[in-house]
Amino acid sequence: MASRGQEIADKLTKVGESVLKDIDDGKNPSVDITMRTLSNVYFDEKTGLIRLGDEKQKRYYFNLGQAKKFLQTMLIAKQIKILLEQNKPALSIRQLFYTLKHEIPGAGENTFDIQEESDPIIEDVELMTDSLREELNLIATPNGVLAGPMVVEDKTGDVLDFTRMGSAGGAVPPIVEDDFFHIKEMSADYILVVEKYAVWNLLNQEKYWKKNNCLLLTGKGQPARAERRLLARFGAEYKIPIYVFTDMDPWGYYIYSVYKSGSINLAFFSEKAACPRAKYLGLSVKDVRDFDIPKSSWVKLNDEDYKRMEEIAGYPWFKKEKWQNELADLKKFGYKIEQDALVSKSIEFTANNYLPTKIENKDWFD
């Protein structure tokens, strides 16, 4: 077992021991749970990261509302410890759920009924042990693919050349830590993150990354932990520009902010899974006139869009003037535009015209 794994296993043992100490002292056994609510999340302007505060809540055993969650917490803690000590292959969080799901004898109920019960407790345990899920030997299924001038040695020993991944691209593995995903060579001039796979695929077919010597990455919409962690590594390890290209709507803007600053729910993960250097390339309201995007590809903003815009405008990490203006412009404009819609100009428009022009003119903001 890796020493980091041992360290985490020891922390889990301590959690168990503190529970036993409570019971020795005749106290109501409890564990400290860091609150992952909006009220305990703050934006650290200095680092540009969404961070988690110190607010904690006790989870008690002798409490009708909390007893089951307490039991579930201990079950997950012990299972992770067993997984770490036995050096088993990494499990998905769904598989972990299944290893623990069983009927509690005599209680007429299951330890867990649905995965939605175990997932948040895994996050609790991550916080308890100050570790990442990836370090707990747990994986969430990633969606991401990438292509570009990079060579990686996988944990299996296979060497992957990301210039030779064909039209499908190379998959982002669940764990992208250095011992799983060792980057041997990297010669890209910049990294371009694309929100949607369809757009990424078109760019890949046109060998955009070859023509522009860049790394092309997509998280297929809202990125999973692996894509975010990988972009964070790129940002920290290579001093090359990083651009994010999304739909022109509040959902696209927010995806950008997750890559750049992190998310509320995984605020504790931001340090390792956010890339504050990332810049917003587009689509922006200004692009509509600059590139003369035809009205036929505009879509009216709906109530939900407006609601989400209001929310986003209130987030501290969207308080920069540029973003407040962008949100105000979008509201005034009244339409959203998808990345895909640029093909209405021409199939090659995105690769040959839009992206090179934006990058050449340094037409981005953050």
Binding site: L20, F62, Q66, F70, M74, A77, K81, T111, E123, N265
Partner: protein, 543 residues
């Protein structure tokens, strides 16, 4: 009547008078048998047993004897049953015996104002008459009033023309050794089982007469003994004079005619309860009558009698005395019920004596729950009047109506929408004691709907229901707590195993420690129904 007949110069009344004659008791019985409780064949048997048992219980209590009653029913043929009822009562004196059993409307309790089972002196002789009419056989009666005196045996019939006993056989019975009375009848009747059966009647009689021992042998030779639940006779109800508020015109006239008092004033004071000198004067003044007049003179003056009746209502008269009633009392009701039923819970209520139309009455209620009471369907209602179970016409009875007025959901019981009684293993028994129970008919099946009585019944049942409600909600709480404790025990087993995997400590030891701390310090939160603390819920932020 045609005009041709009137032309005979004889007044019509003379013609009519020729047709007037005494109606024979047989005819009277045939016309009124339904009113006397002899309608269906199963019911004839119950009525016969009931009349004999009522008499036996009344006689024993009057003589301070703990009743021991034996009933045997046998099949003679497909139509006829042979019924024997034997008691250890005081016996019937030889010279009156033929009339007690062989003459309708002959009894000792008709004019007495106090709580008793039989009243009109019609019951047992009606049974004798019914037996004789349907089987042709005489009643066989043996009685012994003192162990030192011989027992005498009669075979007798009722002369249906004259309503007088006709003795067929009369002899000493050397085999009847103990004191008491035995009657044997052959009659057309049917033996059935179930809710409206002799057995059920006797069971309920035993419950409300816990001082009686009742033995029953059915036609299949099956013996059931309802043992005594107590060895103490109920307090003998005191006989009282009639209260002016309860008197009827005809009765008053009869009393005026037959009184020994020479003056109206002394008649009023001596014959009625709660009329003293002052009240008497006020009544006479109000009625504009001379207290010194002869009562017999007033009897002829219907107007005067009416005035005095009106004065009875107008002048304030004290309520009748209350010691003329004999409640079963809560303790004995409890004993009576639990002697005959296994129950999980029982509550009894004895209401104070109340007065309605000059008649004192009191209500007692029992609610029993669980045990061997049928769990399916509606609550069982048992109606008792002066310690006699009422078996028929439940739906027409004030007791039923009062129970149906109650919203049982208020007492933690299930009551489907529109249902009149609660669901579940519940037994509701109501005893109404009165010097004059107002029945809806002569067959004494159902209590009439008199608001004062219904209200008292409702109050009594509600009081008992409150106890049941408390019991049920405590039960529910205890059940919930047990469930929670069981849940925690299961959780703790699971938790101990997890903690063993985490810390390497033995799970059995961990488990016993948890159990110990839970039992010592934290069991309280399981009992209290306080809102459990909410666990934190992480936000979802569009991921």
């Amino acid at each position: 009547m045609t005009s041709a007949k009137t032309s005979d110069n004889a007044p019509i009344a003379v013609e009519l008078a020729k047709k007037q004659k005494a109606i024979s008791v047989a005819e009277f019985f045939e016309k009124n048998r339904h009113m006397l409780g002899f309608d269906s064949l199963p019911r004839c048997l119950i009525t016969c047993v009931k009349e004999a048992v009522d008499n036996a219980l009344d006689a024993c209590e009057e003589s301070s004897i703990l009743p021991d009653i034996y009933i045997r029913v046998r099949k003679v043929d497909d139509r006829i049953l042979n019924i024997v009822i034997e008691d250890n009562g005081p016996g019937v004196q030889r010279d009156v015996l033929p009339r007690v059993f062989g003459k309708l409307l002959y009894g000792s309790r008709f004019h007495a104002i106090r709580q008793s089972r039989g009243q009109q002196g019609i019951g047992i002789s009606a049974a004798v008459l019914y037996a004789q009419l349907t089987s042709g056989k005489p009643a066989r009666i043996t009685s012994r009033i003192d162990p030192k005196l011989p027992a005498y045996f009669y075979e007798l019939k009722i002369d249906t023309e004259t309503n007088e006993p006709r003795i067929i056989t009369e002899k000493f019975d050397d085999f009847f050794t103990s004191r008491g009375t035995r009657i044997e009848l052959n009659m057309e009747a049917t033996y059935v089982r179930g809710r409206q059966s002799v057995l059920e009647y006797l069971r309920n009689t035993a419950i409300v007469n816990p001082h009686a021992r009742i033995t029953f042998i059915d036609p299949y030779e099956e013996k059931t003994v309802f043992e005594r639940a107590c060895d103490v006779l109920p307090k003998q109800p005191v006989e009282i004079k009639p209260h002016p508020h309860g008197i009827e015109l005809g009765t008053l006239i009869k009393m005026l005619q037959s009184t020994d008092s020479l003056k109206l004033g002394s008649f009023l004071s001596n014959s009625f309860a709660k009329i003293g000198g002052h009240t008497m004067e006020s009544i006479c003044k109000e009625a504009n009558l001379d207290p010194n007049m002869a009562p017999q003179d007033l009897a002829k003056d219907t107007e005067g009698v009416r005035r005095i009746m009106a004065a009875f209502q107008k002048i304030k008269i004290q309520a009748p005395p209350k010691d003329c009633l004999s409640p079963i009392t809560g303790d004995l009701l409890k004993k009576g019920v639990t002697q005959n039923h296994r129950v999980d819970f029982i509550s009894t209520v004895s209401r104070p004596v109340n007065v309605c139309r000059g008649n004192p009455f009191l209500v007692e209620a029992v609610i029993a729950y669980g045990g061997d009471i049928d769990t399916e369907g509606r609550a069982e209602i048992y109606r008792i009047a002066n310690r006699v179970p009422l078996m028929y016409q439940q739906g027409a009875c004030a007791i039923t109506h009062a129970i149906e007025r109650i919203n049982w959901k208020n007492y933690s019981l299930e009551q489907p929408k529109g249902a009149k009684a609660p669901l579940g293993p519940i037994m509701i028994m109501v005893h109404l004691a009165s010097t004059n129970v107002p029945f809806t008919s002569e067959s004494k099946d159902a209590v009439a709907d008199i608001p004062e009585i219904e209200d008292e019944i409702e109050l009594a049942v509600r009081e008992a229901a409150r106890d049941l409600g408390r019991y049920l909600s405590e039960q529910k709480k205890a059940l919930d707590a047990r469930k929670k404790i069981k849940m925690f025990e299961s959780y703790t087993k699971e938790l101990s195993l997890a903690l063993e995997a985490l810390t390497g400590k033995d799970h059995d030891r961990i488990e016993s420690q948890f159990r110990d701390v839970l039992a010592r310090k934290y069991s309280k939160f399981i009992d209290t129904s306080e809102e459990p603390a909410k666990d934190i819920v992480p936000v979802k932020d569009g991921e």
